[in-house]
Amino acid sequence: MTKTPLLEIEDLYARVAEREIIKGLNLTINEGEVHAVMGPNGAGKSTLSYVLCGKPGYEITGGKIRFKGMDLLKMSPEERAREGMFLIMQYPVEIPGVPVTTFLKHSVNAVRKHRNLPELDTMEFIKFVREEGKKLGISADMLKRPVNVGFSGGEKKRLETLQLAILKPCFAILDEADSGLDIDALKVVADGVNAERGEHNSLLVITHYQRLLNYIVPDFVHIFADGHIVKSGGKELAQELEETGYAQFVKEK
């Protein structure tokens, strides 16, 4: 069976604030696959996720990225999202004055419009989002609050997961989705993410610890250090790493 590549990163170099962070990264993710990228703090994992989503301020100095066969680096952040790229952020941003529902409605309708689906009116939308929210333990009250303002770590990650559920991306990146979560909250998020897995949907799970990979089991594990992938393997590599640590992969400074 031939596999269809969803994301192809080729010899990528990227810098932020004049510093080269990603140095010669290669990674191909096919449809339906789950890849984990593991690396020590400060390795550039979040940088990679932002580069993929097109965050301003991240300069690409070399290499190529194709997403669904398209030149990803030519696309704006919103185009990438509409084409099905989604990032569960490590630190979701607080937006005072914007109720969750208002934000989600703009987001869902922007994506629906791009997919030639009719936009949802307010009543339809509220019904839809409440039902999806319920599955993740998100109350109607929480949906009325301003985006992430005063949310606990768990609530923030649940809101990210809700967006995943309603936007139905084909490629989701999880950046330290487990940071700051207790085991129960972690399970809710992992279940939410697993529910969206499918034949054509792929995941890139970025994590420092192996713990999350017990709940979202990867097909491939890559060790990321010094700006590129230093070793790749199956899920047993994560286990191995848990025992040995990153020291053997990090160059002496």
Partner: protein, 427 residues
């Protein structure tokens, strides 16, 4: 001295006390002249472009020319727009009162100012009694031309069931129209009312005109006025407004002003909290572009113990526009146990946008709670990226954040329908 002080034929020239008052206005303006860059109160908002002789004073004469004997403006205009909720509506077209029949409830008086002057001695107790024309040149000018405007009185313990809306519209039939209006608003003890003022244009997009408004507002014991204003004058227009408010024991004045038009606009609110438990909330929002200057000036004087004031002002400034906020809280020595807070925040959308802010606290009493804060900044890049990473287009994302910036000040409008109306005018 500029060309704003002209000979004008005004009604009521045979009423000695009125003529004396106008003469006082003329003298006060002549003594002060037009504010210049050296005038402290006007140093950020220079009334440039007003030094000319070509302004046409609104008088009874051009009333007739514009509006005919029937009092209805005949110049071309679009469908008259009403507010999207029930209210008692009064219209001024080019400063000329339109004679609509209002079925006002008992205890509510609304009459043309000239009628009150000629028929109602009571007006003498209020007209010109609160405004310090020696220090407010435009109020002096307004006094020199006293004629147009309204006398509004809500009798003791009367609660107005619907908002009273005064809609001011300018049409293009006079170029350089200079219009002075004086409104006297009296709430007797225990009275309650909502007042809406709006200033818009219709077919006068490119007209240059000058609206100079003075409101004298008297709030009696335990009376409450909610005062909402919408200023969207044409882009070459000048709008200067002073609301002078006196609040007595337990009285409450709540105001909200949304400004988004005019080339040069100042909305000034001066509140005297003269007796215990008097309260004032002065909120404002401004949204601007192009080359406009929009000024929000407040001066709250706490003159008695246990008085309370709160001000929240939010601005959005784009293009080459300039926002100005001057906010003063004065606490007199006897005004112990008072509370005064003030907060101004502005969002700058371009590198050429500007905000000047002058907060002032004058505290002469002990045991008071006072605070002020001012900040200006740009749209948050992290928030913008978050929205865009969820598929929302850049322009839409910016608009969401701009709307959010004004959310807390709009939330202060107690009446949902007035709030919805003003929010719809802010986008």
């Amino acid at each position: 001295m500029g060309g704003l002080l002209q000979q004008a034929e005004l009604p009521g020239a045979n009423i000695p006390w009125l003529e004396a008052l106008r003469e006082k206005g003329r003298r006060a303006f002549a003594a002060q002249g037009m504010p210049t860059a050296k005038t402290e109160a006007w140093k950020y908002t220079r009334p440039r472009d007003l030094q000319t002789d070509d302004f046409v004073i609104r008088t009874t004469d051009n009333d007739k020319k514009c509006c005919g004997e029937a009092g209805h403006c005949s110049c071309e205009k679009q469908e008259e727009q009403s507010l999207p909720f029930e209210c008692y509506e009064i219209c001024f077209e080019n400063g000329c009162l339109q004679h609509n029949h209002l079925h006002l409830p008992r205890g509510v008086t609304v009459m043309p100012l000239m009628e009150a002057i000629t028929e109602n001695d009571e007006i003498k107790a209020y007209l010109g009694k609160s405004v310090d024309i020696e220090h407010y040149p435009f109020a002096a000018l307004n006094t020199a031309y006293l004629a147009g405007g309204l006398f509004i009185r809500i009798a003791g313990n009367t609660k107005l069931d619907k908002p009273l809306a005064v809609l001011n519209r300018t049409h293009s039939c006079h170029e350089n129209l200079f219009c002075n209006l004086r409104n006297i608003i009296v709430l007797e003890s225990g009275a309650e009312a909502e007042l809406i003022e709006s200033f818009t244009y219709d077919g006068a997009e490119k007209s240059r005109y000058f609206n100079n408004i003075v409101n004298e507002i008297y709030i009696g014991r335990k009376a409450s006025l909610r005062h909402c204003k919408f200023q969207n004058e044409a882009f070459k227009a000048v709008h200067v407004s002073l609301s002078q408010v006196k609040v007595r024991e337990g009285g409450n004045y709540e105001s909200f002003c949304l400004q988004r038009g005019a080339n040069l606009a100042r909305n000034e609110t001066k509140v005297l909290l003269t007796e215990e438990q008097a309260r004032a909330e002065v909120n404002a929002a401004y949204i601007m572009n192009g080359w406009a200057t929009i000024d929000t000036t407040t001066d709250i004087e706490h003159l008695s113990p246990q008085t309370y004031s709160d001000q929240l002002v939010r601005g959005i400034v784009g293009g080459n526009a300039k926002g100005v906020f001057q906010g003063k809280i004065h606490i007199a020595p006897e005004a112990v146990k008072t509370e005064g807070t003030q907060q101004h925040k502005a969002l700058l959308l371009t590198d050429t946008a500007e905000v000047d802010c002058k907060p002032e606290l004058e505290i002469f009493a002990d045991d008071v709670k006072c605070s002020h804060g001012a900040a200006s900044g740009e749209l948050d890049e992290e928030q913008l990226f978050y929205l865009r990473s969820r598929g929302i287009g850049e322009d839409e994302a910016r608009q969401i954040l701009i709307d959010a910036y004004l959310e807390d000040v709009f939330a202060r409008i107690r009446s949902e329908k007035i709030k919805d109306w003003l929010v719809s005018l802010s986008g």
